[in-house]
Symmetry: C2
Subunit: 348 residues, 2 copies
Amino acid sequence: MSVTIKDVAKKAGVSPSTVSRVLSNHPRISRETSRKVKIILEEMGYHPNIMAQSLVSKTTNSICVILPKSAEELFLNSFFMELVRGIVTQANRSGYDVVLSSGGSEQEEIDVVSRLINGKRVDGAILLYSRKDDSVVEFLQSNHHPFVLIGRSDKYPNLLSVDNDNVQAAYDATKHMISFGHKRIGFVSGPPNHVLSVDRLKGYQKALEESGIDMRKDWIVEGEFLQESGYRAMSFFMNLPERPTALVVVDDIVSFGVLRGLHELGYKVPDDLSIVSFNNISIAELSNPPISSIDIGIYNLGYTASQALIQSIQHQGEPQFQKRHIIPHRLVVRESSMFSMVDQTHQI
Amino acid sequence: MSVTIKDVAKKAGVSPSTVSRVLSNHPRISRETSRKVKIILEEMGYHPNIMAQSLVSKTTNSICVILPKSAEELFLNSFFMELVRGIVTQANRSGYDVVLSSGGSEQEEIDVVSRLINGKRVDGAILLYSRKDDSVVEFLQSNHHPFVLIGRSDKYPNLLSVDNDNVQAAYDATKHMISFGHKRIGFVSGPPNHVLSVDRLKGYQKALEESGIDMRKDWIVEGEFLQESGYRAMSFFMNLPERPTALVVVDDIVSFGVLRGLHELGYKVPDDLSIVSFNNISIAELSNPPISSIDIGIYNLGYTASQALIQSIQHQGEPQFQKRHIIPHRLVVRESSMFSMVDQTHQI
DNA sequence: ATGAAAGCGCTAACAT
DNA sequence: ATGTTAGCGCTTTCAT
């Protein structure tokens, strides 16, 4: 068995409480005993039993993150790792551990979160929120458990959450195209039930409007966050009698599909079609040509979420300093959009 | 405060121990009380305090995974997520939670693991083992803590570990090239201090030897697991007076760099140079052209590691059924190697 | 079949 | 400045 506080106390000839006080640097403890006890602590290789600590302190210094497992959301792969890195880094810095869990279904997710939170294994939860409606949120919300959303909820607009300004991001992406002289700009969207798709579409429309460009319904296509969606969108656009000269694409992976399709058909990017997309995952940089992308600060998203959650855990009851955190985005211009319509005579 | 076993006992008019017994389906409990207590349990929304449980049971039903944070290993991004998915899925199925942690340095990693394991927060650890030597392994090993390696250790060949047969994998990849008629096959390796690089190089050499093809030292280049390494390797090879017609590349990301460089210089893959690499991360399929790659079963690697660890935790002391688990690999042939030298007259 | 009591390892009043 | 005691929520002998 491992060394307990009692063992140390006995060997040091003091009481367990004294050892405990030494451990927590209690002020009213003599230099001398402190030194003595610390030596024995070291000598015996003492390690505090975290479970015992948290049983009495009623706090676990842990948070949990729920992995979405549904295939639909797996597009997030490299995305998700970045997020988790951000979360774990910040949590560890604040002295918190991160428990990762996954639920097959929404009900399973609730069961998992409930077991962890109600079972006092973790102090709070971070949720990846993409669905428009989510019963896990409902559960946490109604039970007053500390949690933070990555994304935003239409239904509960006032939750603690970390998100990008996706409307603005899409606005910026579209403006970027417009500034290069494009007037025929298409939009490849994601599933219409994701807040993300909706927001980005909104920003796109706003930018067009503001520049006096008519929005054309037939230049907006919806799909999944999958390469195939991009491929399909591409073939759709290229078969149109009137084609766009630029595309704003909801996600890098989708752009990848577009690119591949264009390449197969012998079109050149950005000469024949300019492209800008979102998320700036590593694939955007690696692709051929590299894709201009809105960097949404994925790591930062995770880092901030963890920070916000831990803060809210440590200041339960107090009014929240900030409810909604917006992570700044920035456009990373790469080859896929480096083509000015202005100095060109030819158009496709 | 939340509902405890005592609260339930009081309301049910029984003793705490009875409630506990009902909870654990103890045989010697009457149908009647069991039913009654269960109803109240439900009614009051009881959830067992996991910390209290594990304090008495001396088991945590948790394992931890250490995230390598060093930039050098970040090439693993999408790789790592797959791994974690496998680990979490299997662990959850076995009723275990997964704690994710990261250490900046090797010493920090030891501190983290030590805190978690000695502090009885987790029962064991999963380690990503890529370095040739690793003090974390040393620590766990010498303290008899349950752990499993993903990868293998030269120094401690007999540890519980999950790995691929990388020699065979590289052998297969190389043979694949040879079967297409290639006789001039180069190898782009990773850092020479990774067992992975060494093993794959070994397999490459073995395949050449067996086919009576001379190995040429100048057709083997070492690098990092980065795109740039591929780029550099490519330019190196293409500037050689005598060029290879095929390349075996240690990692998909590296292949990606090769591909990009070739594209820039106007070379065609596979016509001018055939390529096969390892890991089969999503980028391999998405790339242009898609890269032939050895699928090493990343998810499976994680799943099996978790399984092996939990088994070893639950059967501590007993002799291990199996020490080294080998996850099968398989070659996924895509466009980058679909080119037969045999029916060709022209060669670069 | 059930209850009483002890104890897991730790902290925090409450003494002194 | 340090020791004594009680108790966190649970399980598990040991009684009955």
